[in-house]
Amino acid sequence: MEMNAFVTGADRGLGLALVERLLEKGWRVFAGQYMPEWPALGALSERYADRLHIVPLDVTDDASVQAAAAAVAACTDRVDLLINDAGVTSPTMQRTIREAPDYDEMVRMYDVNAVGPLRVVQAFLPLTDQSAMKRLCFVSSEAGSINRCERKGWYGYCMSKAALNMGVSGLFNLLRPEGYTFRVYHPGWMRTYMSGQKSTQAELEPEEAAVPALAYFLRDLAEDQHTSTRHGADRLVMRDWRGREWPW
């Protein structure tokens, strides 16, 4: 049976690499496109014309998210795997409390990184409800771990990822009893475009990062068999690309 995935933020970086690997594995992929002027997704669709569907998507715009869900629904009645990858940083995010924190940018990062995935999950529920797999994946970050936070500055980014983790926790409580399974993931520090330009300092190329990420997103875990969240049969965890759990 052909499996269907929807990936947000698929234009470049980790999202694009995840799309490419899913296509290599035979998946049909609906790729959320935020930047139609960026050529990589178009190039990929020439190689996989039959299985890659590009869908315009701005996760901050509810109408755009609903239109994307309608576009996917026109092609299939089922989405098995939803990967919330779209995320942003900000050039001003490192400002400390004495360096005039940029509140407008904090709002923007919250809108994309924390609220965006909820908009997407809500709009796609009728499609994911039809799947037996019901797998919801979220690219979060170690920066969302309050327990481990050592940063000064970075308010808006860390807060957006902590809020994302809480949002996923609510989704988990609501949807896990219905058979949904969840992956909250820190992909490592990648050479991606989250700040607008490609990072050159980071540890991982997105193509490298996509390998352990997709392995974790697709692998069935023993706890997936227990739809009960009681008695610790399953609990939500954030894991990084080396498999380590991060505390909230």
Partner: protein
């Protein structure tokens, strides 16, 4: 020792009761007022003439917070304690009924960004004081203990607040600032607009539990903890 405090969201509910509790202890209080039409603060000012000063304050507005800091700076040169109390609810809570994105953003702006604005603006006044920063958070911000299937916007705003306080702690603890991150219990307050009669604590009871924690000493000030009204620690 009595000092000088600023309290946000002082119009009614817990903020109002915290004001009264500090005034009873002899403190001078700047009361952040969001709702000039609400009568309780004026009544408090009559009860404690000269000790309570009302300052217009909307923590969702950077301009309003800056103006409030200027107004306080004109009237005193030292602030010992800032209590970030102002908070709101976040609208529809059920995913399958459709979340209210605008309400989620309002809650984030007030509950999570508001306290950062207040700390930023009032920090210069705090240098000469006891350097105590208190935050009314909530158990609803605890991911580890979260049992809710809804209330997304409110929970997320409080988790984000806890993270913001953690970063403030990382920045300001080395300068001698001390932090109180607090879950006040379920208070019969007005966070949804109307007083909630189902909750378990009157604001005055909640303030009586909160103030000893806000004013007292702690053994390990280097570790940020979320503590509730019964002294229990909540994990993040």
């Amino acid at each position: 020792m009595a000092g000088v405090a600023l309290i946000t969201g002082a119009d009614r509910g817990l903020g109002q009761a915290l004001c009264a509790g500090l005034l009873d202890r002899g403190w001078r209080v700047f009361a952040g007022q969001y709702m000039p039409e609400w009568p309780e603060l004026a009544a408090l000012a009559e009860r404690f003439p000269g000790a309570v000063e009302i300052v217009p304050l909307d923590v969702s507005s950077t301009e309003s917070v800056a103006a409030a800091a200027r107004a306080v700076a004109e009237r005193c040169d030292r602030l010992d304690l800032v209590i970030n109390n102002a908070g709101i609810n976040a609208g529809r809570t059920e995913l399958r009924e459709g979340l209210d994105w605008d309400a989620m953003h309002r809650a984030y702006n007030v509950n999570a960004l508001g306290p950062i604005r207040v700390v930023e603006a009032f920090l210069p006044l705090m240098a000469e004081g006891m350097r105590r920063l208190a935050f009314v958070s909530s158990e609803a911000g605890s991911i580890a203990m979260n049992g809710r299937q809804g209330s997304f916007g409110y929970c997320m705003s409080k988790t984000a607040l806890n993270m913001a306080v953690r970063i403030l702690h990382n920045e300001l603890r080395p300068e001698g600032y001390t932090f109180r991150l607090y879950h006040p219990g379920w208070v019969r307050s007005y966070m949804s607009g109307q007083k909630n009669p189902r909750a378990t604590l009157e604001p005055e009871e909640a303030a009586a539990c909160a103030l000893p924690f806000f004013l007292g000493d702690r053994e390990d000030e280097d570790r940020l903890v979320l503590i509730d009204y019964e002294g229990r620690e909540w994990p993040f």
